[in-house]
Structures are given as structure tokens and as C-alpha cells.
Symmetry: C2
Subunit: 531 residues, 2 copies
């Protein structure tokens, strides 16, 4: 059963190793656990629905609770404290595109606001209903999760928008195909959500971002359906897939998604290389990306993340031996762990591996084989579960991310980490901050930063601290050539900074498009574009 | 000196080999040369300008003639006959973005229509002024052609929009970089034009289409400048680069272009392989593309194009020997020539070559080494000059192109070729038609068809025949899942079919954006969106 107040399935528990807790205590102090609310306490708060009855709409209190919040840190705190504040008036579960169209018509007729809902995994406040005069209907696409068609020659798969990662992959793998899209939220997030929020997967280096995978489909709008046929490429005017990609529910509801699948690769492996210093690591990863060595993933942890990962890995004895070996080979204090993957034919993978090893060696890289790479692959979707263990130990963890051009990566990373690390200095609190680069491009890289802090004595204090930290980081990003999001989207949490990136003319164009498709401002209010 | 009534520099002459003329005569009959008009005859037709004087605007008659037409077949016929019909009232030559903004303001104040102009190489009627009450100012960006900045770390080059292919490459190569964008029009077409019309270069398999190369820049609009900052990738809402890519001058004038350059590759080579049949060739090229073998170009001629190319290559003795050798190896009648390129490090190129050879061998491919590949590379920009030689011999040649998913490539190709081949049957005329696939993708391929016909006794008849043929092909494309253009853009010639591709909601969205940026409909009237 999926957790109602946190990440993932209740049966999956990821523990914090005992030395991990000591590691954190030494850096930011002893944990400060806070008491959680029960589901019964929250259910008691759910008000009567303002919606009329509709055969596709559930007004059940628990269903409304389970669709009220995403997975942002404020969402987490609200769910843990039991202070939801606002619930959708109902949740619709259409099974066909035709039913989605019916629900849009019904919402217009009944003067209802609509929140399109995929996997409920937003970390930017995409799906939270707001208090207001008009009732709010959350439109879950969970039941539209089937592979409807597979054109094996063109490798185009047609899905319902509500298929989550496992549903996408299991249906494709049964036919010998993969989408190759593996965001960390993969277990719960959905194809439609990936498209609506411009998601990027861990192996985007091979398969591309969702922008490259999304070939076409249908967006149901209040002006009528926007149908996007598939072409391998076109020069016939602006690419209207961009009206769907990143639209975050503002322009319409995605009712069908066509994606570019790939045949399952013959061979795949992941490797770890330790770089002696951040400077050498950064040069190495940039050179790899710009040389177009055909890798499927590349991830570079900075020195603090490397230290933290090794501390949280458990097995301190083995880790200590590894570190001694690395130090002897020149990767001692300040070393940075680089993980890379190859996916493809055996012939190409052998060539890619050789090229990558040779190139990284020029920058002092110490190759350690597949042991840590296999560990990365085994744990790739487990990190979000760690929030539970940290929370139980009295720590709050959140992540944020951006992307910027290579010339600016190091500078922006320093600003973000510095802003977070010193963000609670006036309260005398330490923040543990670490970063990795993944999703590298010829032009630049994403920057993915994790920060751990203590909640203080109360939920209110935990939220105030988060707001301080988040604001410091977002200001640093938006004023220093970073995108406000590389893979999480805008939602409500990033909307205040979007205009800095898009400019007045860009925002005006977005408003003009929204006004065309949703003149009564019924869809995902406040998301993407501030109202 | 650039030709005023045809392609390229007057000093470059590409001859039709004597056996080439016999080859055509045997297939579609003896040539029917038509007499050309002189520049003096055309200059005599240029009416007085309706524009007020402006320091940046030339009202010179010859300048106006030289900016009145592009390179479409109707343009060619008009230039050759000397029946331009309409000329711009003047041509502006701004040198800075500020001057572009001044000219926009002046156009609004004077109630003037504006046609943004890059290299004047449109083959779809993008830059032709139309008769009407308001004066027409063509805005040439030719003087804004410099490399303004090069961020070597991020490989981002900032250019004026008017830099043509040689200007882009020479300025980048001096610094050790290349853009890698080589459309057949490369000698004359410009960076801004490539962006505005979503161009694709011959080595797009390595470097990407202009959509992937275009990182940001500025579009000057009547609502104000749209500034697009560069990011390696972003999930912050719809990608507004799509308001510039494919905008074809309808939304604004591009005043600055930032592109993703690459370091010059260590190694490059092109190879030819002959496939025994079209079926095997098609499977081979699709398998290569879907296996992601890192090639830089792939081009597959069908049997008739292969035969035509070998006939027009000259050196019939050598060709005959080659054909005997190929027939012995299994590639006889019906053989299809496949050319591929590798560009990159020596290590990767060696691996790519080996993979490509092995894979194509499975489909019966006979590898012939680099001789024909070198010939392709040497002649890659010379094909447009051949129109002159064919015209002098009394033949009309035109090309058209689309792209579609693999499942539909063969079917659509047959429809296009059939429509053209039988397009003049009611007049008892033969049309010589041949095709290649290039720009291959995992999902599908472009289809590029060339057709040669006789003009009949007059320019009017030549144009009528063209319209029949073009319409037949466009109808086949638009009603059978092809995009109306893969690399030439929409302009006026393809605009009637755009709505079939974009749908009513897509067209409405494009109109809403155009209405926002250009409420008085001053820019590129009739282009992209039919007025």
C-alpha cells in the first residue's frame, strides 16, 4: 500500500546506517524528531465536498487526502503534522480520453477548478489545491495506464498518460522494448507527468530527456483537443509539442502520449572512477560530454557528497580499505566519485568504456570497476525512501536542482552550496550540503544539491527554515544564469522566479497561450504562471 | 558576384556531362530551352519606391531586384522570364540589434510591411513581397554576420543572424571550433534563416538539427525584445526557443543567435556501400539508425537515384567497371547506393566504421571504401548549380522533401514518386523522379525527391506543370502522415497544407502568438500562417 504521508510503498524501508547518524550528528548536531499525525486525525479534518455527484468522481475523504499533496518538503511537513489546510473537493478517475473531455465540460458547466494529477510526485507544489470560492476537482489519470499501440518499425509506443514508470517499462519490456526514462521518482511518477513537467531520467545521456522521447499525443483543452501527430522531425513551423511539454496542466489535460521507445540493449554496465580533485573531475566530465563518448549516464559527486555517500553506505571496514587504496593511487582527501554507464551493443560498449577510461585517466581518475556502479544501479530509486529514516532520526532532507553552462557550473554550485550552508547561520544552525552533477551536456550540466538540516523544536520552525534555505538557493540560481529547474518543473514553488528566466515577452506569450486554451482560468491555478 | 537570377556565384559553373543529357533525353525527351530575360529588362520594370528616405534603407533598383525572389522553382521561372511582378520598396541593412529595433519602430510609424531576409535562399516563397496597399521593406541581416563572442568552455558561440555558412565556419574554425551545420544551401543561407526555418544540415546525425544547435538569442518584436538565455536544458515551462525556431519571420526579427559549437573533430571520412535491393537497403539504414551507431551522416539513394547519379557522374568507363564489380558481389540491377560518414575521435570512428560495415553486410551491402564518399563530400554543395546546366539543356529540375515514421516511409515515398511520375500523364509528358533518404532518426526518415521535367513551349506552361506536380506531391504528403517540410520550412508555398499537420487548435495557438507579437500583421505577411 502506498504511504499516505510520505514516499513509496509501506513495505519498502531504507535504514540509516548507525555510522550515518553519527556522521550527521558530528556535522549538524543531534537529531530533533517531531511527532507525526495519524491518518485518522487528518480524515477528521476533511470538510464536506462542494461538488455535485458525478459517476467518475470520488468524494471519499481518504481519496481526497491521498490526492491533496505532493512530495515537496512543505508537503512532507504538512502531511507529517496533519495540517493539510486544503483538500480537493473530489477526485475524478477517467478511463478514456472521451471521459476526460466529459469531465472538462462538466467542470466548465459546474464552475469547478481542475488539477490534472499523474503520480502525485511533484516536488514543486504542482497538485496542491488552494482555498477559494470555486470547488476543486483533482483529475487523476491513474486508470489510463495502458500501452495502447506499439509501432515496432518506428519504435513509437502509444500510452495512456497515467502509466507510471513500472507500468511503462513492464508493458514495453514484454515486447522487447524500453523507454529508457528513469527519473528518481520512476516507481510512482507517470508518463503524462513527465511530459507535463519536462522530466529527465538518469540515463538521459543515451535516451534523451522526455522532450526527445515525447513524439506526440493529445492535449484536451477547453478550446478543443490539440492533436499532435508524430514525425521524426519537421521544419513546418514552431514545434507544438512545446505546448504540452512543460505546460504543467495549465493549457490542458494530456489524454494520450506517444513516445519514442528503443529496443532493449544487448549490454549494460555501470562503473565508478575516483577523481583526485574537484577541478580535475570537472574537467574530465566536461571533456567526456563534449567528446560525445557514447555513454548512457554520467554522475559526478563533489567531495562532500562522496564523503557522505561513503559514510552512509554502511560497511565502514570495506570503505576504509577502499579509501586507503584510492589514496595510494592519488585520490585521497578531496576525491570525487564519478559514476558512468554504458548501454548498447557489446562492441560499442567496449569502445565507449575504453575511451572513457583513457580520457578520465588523463585527469587522474582511478578506475574501480563495476562494484560501486552495480550498487548505484541497485539503489537508484531508493534515495527518496531515506527521507523517512532521516526524519525518524530527527533530520530534514530536501534536494534542489538547476542547470547552467559549463563556464558557470562551478561558480553557481558554490553560490548554491554557500547559500544553503550559511542559510541558518543567524540561528546558529549548521546545514549539511552536498552536490552532484548529472545530466551532462556539451553546453553545461545540471547541478543537484541535497541539504540536511534540523527541524528545530516545531513544524513551524522546520518550515520557516526550509523557506529561508529554498529562497536563498532559488535567488542564487535565478540571478546567476541557472534555470529555476532542470528536471522538477515550476509548479507553485518556483513560479515566483520564472519571469527572471522567461523575461516579460516570454511570460506574455505564455499568458497569451493560456488565455487561448483556458480563458476562464480553470486549470491548475497558480501553477507555472502566477495568477 | 552572386547571380541575380539563379543559384550561387557566377564564377562557379557545374556542367552536365554529355552522357547525362542523353540519359535524360532517353527518359523524358529532348530538352526545350527557353530564352532568359536580361537584368536590364528587369531593372526597367522596377517602379518608384513608396518608402520615405531612411539612412539604413536602400531604394536602389538593382538592390530591390536582388532581394525580390528566393530560389523556389516559381522564383526561378520568374527571374528567368523577367516577370517578377512585385519588388520590395526598399531594402534595409541594419548593422546592430539597436538598428533592427529602430527599423521596426519606423515600419510601425510609416505603416510599412516588413520581410526579414537572411540569405535569400528560401525554396518555399518566404521572402517574396506581395502586391498591396502598404509599402514593403525587406530587412536584410547580411551586415550582422560577425562572431560576437565565443564561450570556449560551454562551446556557445554568439553570432549576428546574417552570418552565412562560410562566415559561420571560417570564424569558428579560426578558434578550433565548428558548428557542423551544412545544409545544401550552406554557401548562401544564414544562421538566422536556418533558425527561422528549422533547417537541417547534412551531418545532423552527429551535430543535430538547428533546433538542437540553437541555444538562445534575441527576437525583436513589435511587443518588445524576446530574450532567450542559454541553458543546457531546462524543465521550467515550455521551451520558448520554439517561438523563434520555425517562426519564419512572423513573430519578429532575429537579431542575435547563440549556437552550440563543437571542437573540430580529430578525424572524418565518408564511405559508400551498395545495397542489393531497396528492401534490404531500407532495413539496413533503419537498423543502423535505431542501433545508434555513432555516424555523422547517412544517405540512401533509391535505385533510380543511384542509376541517375552514376549516369551524371561522368567517367562512364570507370562507372561501368564499378557496376560490373558490384554485380559480381550481388549488387546488380536495382542496387541502391548508401553513403555514410564518421566524424569524431579516431578511436570512435574506427569502432563506428566496423559496426556499420558489419551491420550493412548482414543486409547484403557491398562496401566500396572512400572513393565515392570523397566525391560526395567534394560535391556536397554543388547540386544546386546543376539547375543552370539542366535549364540550359532545356530541362526543369526541382526537389521536395518530407519526413515520416519508418512504418510509413516506403508507402509515402511510393505515393510521392508516383504522383510526380504520373503528374503530367494527361499531357503525355514523362517526369524523371528519384529519391534519397537522409536525416535518419530512430523514429523515421526524411524523404528527399528530385524531379526533372520539360518546360513545354513557354514559361507559363513550365509554371503550370510545376504547380500540378508540386500540388500532387504536397497532397500525397499532407494526407499520408508526412510533414509538409522536414528542412525547407513552410513559407507561402506550403502554407495551404500546414493546417492539416497542426490541426485547428495548433493553428489557433499560432495565430494567438502572432497576434500577441505582431498585432498589426506587419511581418512576413502570408508566410507560415495564411492570412
Amino acid at each position: 500500500m502506498r504511504r499516505w504521508n510520505g514516499w513509496g510503498d509501506e513495505a519498502t524501508v531504507v535504514e540509516l546506517p548507525s555510522n550515518g547518524q553519527a556522521f550527521l550528528a558530528a556535522r549538524i548536531g543531534a537529531g530533533q524528531p517531531l511527532a507525526d499525525a495519524s491518518l485518522a486525525q487528518v480524515l477528521a479534518q476533511v470538510p464536506a465536498s462542494r461538488l455535485a455527484a458525478h459517476p467518475l468522481v470520488s468524494l471519499d475523504a481518504e481519496v481526497r487526502v491521498r490526492h491533496a499533496r505532493g512530495q515537496s518538503l512543505p508537503d512532507w511537513l504538512a502531511m507529517r503534522e496533519g495540517t493539510f489546510g486544503c483538500f480537493p473537493d473530489g477526485v475524478a478517475f477517467p478511463e478514456t480520453a472521451e471521459q476526460v473531455r466529459q469531465l472538462l465540460a462538466w467542470a466548465a458547466e459546474q464552475d469547478v477548478l481542475l488539477i490534472p494529477y499523474g503520480g502525485g510526485t511533484s516536488v514543486a507544489g504542482h497538485i496542491n489545491p488552494q482555498a477559494g470560492a470555486r470547488p476543486v476537482l483533482t483529475l487523476s489519470l491513474a486508470r489510463m495506464n495502458r500501452l495502447l499501440e506499439l509501432d515496432e518499425a518506428s519504435q513509437i509506443a502509444t500510452f495512456g498518460p497515467g502509466a507510471n514508470g513500472p507500468q511503462v517499462e513492464s508493458q514495453l519490456r514484454a515486447r522487447g522494448f524500453t523507454l529508457g526514462h528513469f527519473p528518481q521518482s520512476w516507481e510512482l511518477s507517470t508518463l503524462g507527468g513527465w511530459v507535463a513537467s519536462r522530466s529527465s531520467g538518469q540515463q538521459s545521456l543515451r535516451y534523451g530527456r522526455i522532450e526527445q522521447l515525447f513524439a506526440g499525443g493529445t492535449l484536451e483543452t477547453f478550446a478543443g483537443p490539440l492533436e499532435l501527430p508524430t514525425f521524426p522531425a519537421s521544419s513546418a513551423g514552431p514545434d507544438l509539442r512545446e505546448l504540452v511539454l512543460g505546460s504543467e496542466g495549465r493549457f490542458g489535460v494530456i489524454s494520450e502520449v506517444k513516445v519514442r521507445a528503443s529496443r532493449l540493449a544487448e549490454d549494460e554496465a555501470f562503473y565508478a572512477v575516483f577523481m583526485p580533485s574537484w577541478e580535475q573531475a570537472l574537467q574530465g566530465i566536461r571533456t567526456l560530454a563534449q567528446a560525445r563518448v557514447p555513454l548512457s549516464m554520467l554522475r559526478l559527486s563533489n567531495a562532500i557528497e562522496t564523503e557522505t555517500q561513503l559514510a552512509l553506505a554502511g560497511h565502514p571496514g570495506q570503505i576504509s580499505l577502499l579509501e586507503k587504496y584510492l589514496a595510494l593511487r592519488g585520490a585521497g582527501i578531496g576525491k570525487c566519485m564519478l559514476t558512468f554507464g554504458v548501454t548498447g551493443s557489446r562492441a560499442q560498449n567496449a569502445s565507449s568504456l575504453k575511451q572513457a577510461k583513457q580520457l578520465l585517466k588523463r585527469f587522474g581518475g582511478v578506475f574501480t570497476g563495476t562494484v560501486l556502479g552495480k550498487k548505484w544501479a541497485a539503489n537508484r530509486f531508493r534515495f527518496p525512501y531515506l527521507r523517512h529514516a532521516l526524519w525518524a532520526a530527527g533530520y530534514v532532507v530536501d534536494t534542489l536542482e538547476t542547470a547552467t553552462d559549463w563556464v558557470n557550473v562551478d561558480h553557481l554550485l558554490d553560490l548554491i552550496e554557500g547559500g544553503l550552508r550559511n542559510g541558518l547561520a543567524e540561528e546558529g544552525e549548521q546545514v549539511h550540503v552536498f552536490t552532484h552533477l548529472s545530466h551532462v551536456y556539451g553546453e553545461g550540466s545540471s547541478i543537484y544539491t541535497t541539504y540536511v538540516y534540523r527541524p528545530g523544536g516545531s513544524y513551524a520552525q522546520a518550515l520557516r527554515r526550509w523557506r529561508k534555505l529554498k529562497t536563498a538557493a532559488c535567488e542564487a540560481i535565478a540571478h546567476n544564469r541557472g534555470t529555476i529547474s532542470h528536471q522538477h518543473g515550476v509548479g507553485r514553488d518556483h513560479a515566483p522566479w520564472l519571469a527572471l528566466e522567461k523575461g516579460p515577452q516570454g511570460m506574455a506569450a505564455l499568458r497569451a497561450i493560456a488565455a487561448h486554451f483556458d480563458p476562464e482560468r480553470r486549470l491548475a491555478p497558480g501553477v507555472l504562471i502566477e495568477d
